[in-house]
């Protein structure tokens, strides 16, 4: 708070002073400058605090509802807990060393330890990341991303993974996959950081690679490694409450504004632009998935509509602040169709049991989004990258930069490799400590009773 107050006091002082001196002195101007800085910070901070809250809302209750509605009644709490426990555990990890490993200055692959226990992360902005908001705001905003990413994976092992093992796995995964990925793409000096001289500059506005590719491909590995749910695909395993999933999906849509538009790190025109592409992609994804269903099965379903919107959102994440509104529509439209195909046709053919389609939506969506960003990114939307003369650089194919798509693919490749190898390592490490899968009897009885000793619904009078 201090610098705000100082600024205001200075402003007041200068107001008083100025009644004595005939014209604007240097002191007055400096006071004004400080006041303007404080007021710029207030506007940007208002938006970023709100965005942080929105991204947390995405995990709980958003994702928790989306996922838990899709499982059977006996697993509703267990599935919710997989999201919730990330909100709790990853927060503590972030506090201790996570933020430092992701955003500290370190190697090209991982941050250093200077921010251990958030040492030195205070109200002063960190100009490397966001020059107008408190460093702590940036820290807590990024924390919300670190929470939701492993929570997304949980979609792949829902209905069959033990609680303790899930926590252990996800915590390990955060260290082995997330922190490196975040550092490489967004961290100071990171290998893929386009804005800080990374040797392979990748445009990832809000985490298409960092969040969706990593979690999606990790989910695929988990789903295959763990094997199918008992009874799959013979026993019926209908979503127990699409009503919950629907609420969750709407909250994801709304929360995603914090995720994508918040990634502008300021309440700027760029934030608005990301907001718009995000919204358009979600809408287009819902429409195209519904159309695909309509043609294939004759009926557009509610589950289809919300899945399409989530697919659109996941896919536009990477390009949100780089592409024009029309591109948001195009990206969303492609996302809806491709993810529909993955989830309804390809998955059944390949035969793995990714219960909640974390791979089909986030993995595939993330990968497409990464690529499409290389095509649609344009300096008319984002002019932050400049050449020596201060002119904005061409970004994607539409700007005439036909090679960026290679960088994007390289980034995606690195993300996928990291996710696959890292996930296997984490699974093995976890198994050294504790069995991952529930016993058959536990799976039959359900997670709620066997893992948590509760039931989601007690509707008897």
């Amino acid at each position: 708070m201090s610098y705000r107050i100082v600024a205001l006091l200075a402003l007041c002082a200068s107001t008083l002073l100025s009644q004595q001196t005939p014209s604007g002195t240097e002191a007055e101007l400096n006071a004004l400058r400080a006041a303007v800085k404080a007021s710029q910070s207030a506007g940007d901070n208002a938006w970023m605090l709100m965005s942080s809250a929105l991204v947390l809302l995405m995990t709980g209750p958003g994702l928790a509802l989306f996922y838990s509605g899709l499982v059977r009644k006996k697993n509703v709490l267990g599935t919710m807990m997989q999201s919730f426990v990330m909100m709790a555990v990853i927060t503590l990890v972030w506090f201790v060393c996570g933020y430092s490993l992701a955003f500290g200055e370190g190697s090209r692959f991982l941050g250093g330890l200077q921010y251990l226990f958030l040492n030195g992360v205070g109200a002063e902005p960190n100009a490397d990341y966001a020059g107008t908001i408190p460093h702590q705001t940036f820290m807590v905003y990024q924390l919300m991303f670190a929470i939701i990413t492993p929570a997304l994976i949980a979609g792949a092992f829902a209905e069959r993974v033990r609680f303790g093992a899930m926590i252990l796995f996800c915590t390990l995964w955060t260290f082995i996959v997330y922190f490196p990925a975040a550092h490489m793409v967004w961290g100071k000096g990171g290998l893929l950081n386009a804005f800080q001289n990374g040797p392979i500059p990748v445009f990832d506005f809000a985490g298409g690679t960092v969040v969706h590719i990593t979690s999606g491909f990790s989910a695929l590995v988990c789903a295959i490694y763990l094997g199918k749910r008992k009874g799959y695909p013979v026993e019926p395993m209908k979503p127990h409450s699409l009503v919950l999933s629907f609420i969750g999906a709407c909250l994801l849509w709304v929360g995603w504004f914090g995720f994508n538009a918040g990634s502008a790190l300021a309440a700027s025109g760029l934030a608005t632009s990301a907001f718009v592409t995000t919204h358009f992609a979600s809408a287009a994804g819902a429409v195209s998935w519904m159309l695909a269903e309509r043609f294939r099965t004759g009926k557009a379903s509610a589950l289809g509509a919300i899945s399409g919107s989530v697919a659109g959102l996941a896919t536009v994440t990477q390009g949100a602040g780089f592409v024009a509104p029309y591109a948001g529509v195009v990206i969303g439209f492609i996302a809806g169709i491709v993810c529909f195909y993955m989830v309804t046709v390809a998955k059944n053919k390949l035969g793995y049991d990714d219960s909640l389609d974390a791979f089909g939506v986030h993995g595939v969506g993330g990968l497409m989004g990464c690529t499409l960003t290389g095509i649609f990114a344009t300096r008319t939307v984002n002019d932050a990258l400049k050449n020596a003369a201060g002119e904005p650089l061409a970004l994607g194919w539409v700007d005439g930069n036909t090679t960026q798509i290679l960088n994007q693919l390289a980034g995606a490749g690195i993300g996928i490799a990291l996710a696959v190898v890292g996930t296997l390592v984490c699974l093995k490490l976890t198994e050294l400590v504790t069995p991952i899968r529930m016993e058959v009897r536990e799976e039959t009885e359900g997670m709620d009773l066997t893992l948590h000793g509760e039931e989601g619904y007690n509707f008897e009078a």
Partner: protein, 112 residues
């Protein structure tokens, strides 16, 4: 005494209840059940997985009545529940050995 048990279409419940009241049958117990028979079910589809749902929502009504009223009740009930389409349901009749009213331990037909 006999128990008359009817499996009917859920949307017919109100009508049947009124018809039975009309002939003075007040005591009954109703259960939500799902039925399988000649009536075709429907398909549901969740992310590409298809489910053939062949257990359809039905309502089961149970009444214990004096044997003398058996035919009257069956006729009334059947008339009210009929639409003439497959799925209208069935009526089954069972012997009842004894009936007791918990409130005052009355037994037999007076307990109904």
């Amino acid at each position: 005494m006999v128990k008359i048990e009817a499996i009917i279409q859920p949307f017919k419940l109100e009508e049947v209840k009124e018809a039975l009241k009309g002939i003075g049958i007040d005591g009954m117990t109703v259960t939500e059940v799902r039925g399988h028979g000649r009536q075709k079910g429907h398909k549901e589809m969740y992310r590409g997985r298809e489910y053939n749902v062949d257990l359809l929502p039905k309502i089961k009504i149970e009444m214990v009545v004096p044997s003398s009223r058996q035919e009257e009740v069956i006729r009334t009930l059947s008339a009210a529940a009929k639409t003439g389409k497959i799925g209208d349901g069935k009526i089954f009749v069972y012997e009842v050995v004894e009936a007791i009213r918990i409130r005052n331990d009355e037994r037999g037909e007076t307990a109904l």
